[in-house]
């Protein structure tokens, strides 16, 4: 049974990834999951300088979902290279580094610093709804997406993935902008903007008013965006948003995802990635699929 998938110049041992920001830098989950068995780890979003993020509360449970407003707390690129990458290098899996510049120049600088052994791909986070500078402001503008992608591709030979926001009317335009800029793949969805109010204080629960919705609640929306994105581009798509089971993962692959990433559900069940991987194998067995690539983009419409 062949589980390998290709994105950019990389071959991944299987299509089950973990989504940025939900899996830290791998250390904590390594007590639950053999990291060698993951297709890839998309690490927590990095900024050029260390960032403290937003004041608490940063998370709120909603029906079948969560809102988060972490605001990219992270040790910065240098901190990552010094304190986190050495641990990750010990594992036989692909490391995708999620980077979020406040300016185009910051994206470029980070890409240059990350042009280093042990880093396999860059995921350009132009879709974080929880920061004031950069983030989603870039992601809702096709020109910014194009420009950032192009500038980053110019300075690195790493596989470059552009992470898209679902907070747009027509995802196709944004996926295309990334492809035109030279992206090797697009990944989606990042979180959906939402809010919640404390009816006693009459204040928004989150200091930033808005926060990002993720988890099973968003799956039907994410699936639609992935399907649409795939129709617009010929580069691979990495699908995510609410995946909690092998069935969910397979749905994303059928509509066009070359790989999938699991985010929020790691919190619910820390070994879910392994269950999902097993479930995919079972599905392939039962349906006589010898190569996972036969499933990708196999939708019948």
């Amino acid at each position: 049974m062949r589980l390998k998938v290709n994105i950019g110049n990389l071959e991944f041992k299987n299509p089950v990834f973990v989504a940025s920001g939900t899996f830290g830098f791998g250390k904590e989950y390594s007590q639950y999951v053999d990291l060698n068995k993951l297709g890839a780890i998309m690490v927590k979003g990095l900024t050029l300088n260390p960032k403290e993020g937003n004041p608490p509360p940063r998370i709120y449970e909603t029906p079948s979902g969560i809102l988060n407003s972490v605001g990219l707390q992270n040790p910065g690129v240098d901190g990552f290279l010094k304190d986190e990458l050495p641990f990750l290098k010990k594992f036989d899996t692909k490391i995708i580094v999620n980077i979020a510049g406040e300016t185009i120049e910051e994206f470029v600088t980070m890409a240059q610093k990350l042009d280093i052994d042990g880093v396999h791909a860059l995921e350009l986070n132009v879709s974080c709804p929880n920061v004031k500078e950069g983030g989603m402001a870039f992601g809702v503008n096709p020109n910014s997406i194009y420009e950032i992608t192009k500038r980053v591709k110019y300075v690195t030979d790493k596989t470059v993935i552009v992470k898209l926001t679902p907070n747009v009317a027509d995802i196709k335009i944004y996926a295309k902008a990334a492809e035109d800029g030279g992206a090797d793949a697009v990944s989606l969805i990042n979180t959906i903007t939402g809010m919640v109010v404390d009816i006693n204080s009459k204040r928004p629960i989150f200091k930033n008013i808005f926060a990002g919705l993720s988890g099973p609640a968003v799956k039907p929306i994410a699936l639609k965006h992935v399907y649409e994105a795939k129709k617009a581009v010929s580069i691979p798509v990495i699908g995510m948003g609410g995946i909690s089971s092998a069935e969910d993962a397979i749905e994303f692959m059928i509509v066009g995802a070359t790989a999938v990433a699991i985010g929020t559900y790691n919190f619910i069940n820390p070994t879910c990635t392994m269950d999902i991987l097993e479930g995919i194998k079972k599905y392939m067995n039962e349906n006589n699929v010898s190569d996972i690539n036969q499933i990708i983009n196999s939708i019948n419409v």
Binding site: G24, P56, I59, Y60
Partner: protein, 243 residues
């Protein structure tokens, strides 16, 4: 991981004591994450109240839908629990005079702490709004002072009132309870220059240090730094916590 319920009793209105089988041996101040079922998604954190040969006790107050669901769980049902998680209370051989201060539903983890303390002189101050609980259990491990806001048991008032009478004896303070109480304990410990550890609460995602959602503001050289309640805490030195 499934764990079988041994008991789940309402010990006073809205407060439950739940015991279940659990293999991994915890340290005082650590917590577990419990899947409360029903329409909840995230697991909920609960401090460990006691641990005895493969049996863990937590106490909880019914607040929202998760704790409501928990309260309906019956003996022999199974629940999904992970842990023990976090950095608990540090126990120091060098300190002989210990002051343990707890308020409301922050009290249970202090029972497990008190049990593990080896010191001779342990003063325990427990504050309640009204009905007190766990008093007999705590009495096994130290000298217990109870305060209630309505005066229905022990001294009428707050734990901080009761603390004043015995604070001079203390080499270290351990505290757990609502935020205003922790803040008051922190102030007292600073005033009297007594080392003090407190257990704080914050909403959690992963519970293991990966998601950065459980931020606790702490002092740092260059201003402040958000530490993780689930991994760096839930127990912090009071002096580093910024309320």
């Amino acid at each position: 991981m499934k764990h079988t319920i041994i008991r789940n009793d309402e010990i006073k209105s809205g407060v439950f004591r739940m015991e279940f089988h659990f293999e991994d041996i915890p340290m005082p101040g650590q917590f577990v994450m419990i899947d409360c079922g029903g329409r909840t998604l995230l697991k909920r954190p609960f401090s460990i109240c006691d641990y005895n040969e493969g049996k863990m006790t937590v106490m909880y107050q019914v607040r929202g839908k998760g704790t409501y669901n928990l309260s309906k769980i019956k003996v022999n049902d199974e629940i999904d629990v992970t842990g023990p998680h976090g950095h608990g209370f540090d126990i120091f051989d060098k300190f002989n005079n210990i002051l343990v201060v707890g308020g409301g539903i922050g009290i249970p983890p202090l029972l497990f702490l008190s049990k593990k303390l080896k010191s001779k002189n342990i003063n325990i101050v427990l504050g309640f709004r009204s009905d007190a609980f766990l008093i007999d259990e705590f009495s096994k491990y130290g000298n217990v002072l109870v305060t209630t806001e309505d005066g229905s048991y022990g001294m009428k008032g707050y734990v901080t009132d009761a603390m004043k009478e015995i604070i001079n004896e203390a080499d270290i303070i351990y505290g757990c309870g609502p935020k205003p109480m922790l803040n008051a304990i922190k102030d007292i410990s600073e005033k009297y220059k007594i080392p003090c550890q407190i257990s704080v609460e914050e909403r959690m995602g992963c519970g293991i240090g990966a998601c950065m959602t459980c931020a606790c503001k702490t002092l740092a050289e260059d201003g402040y730094h958000y530490k993780k309640v689930c991994k760096d805490g839930p127990v912090f030195w009071a002096k580093e916590v910024v309320f």
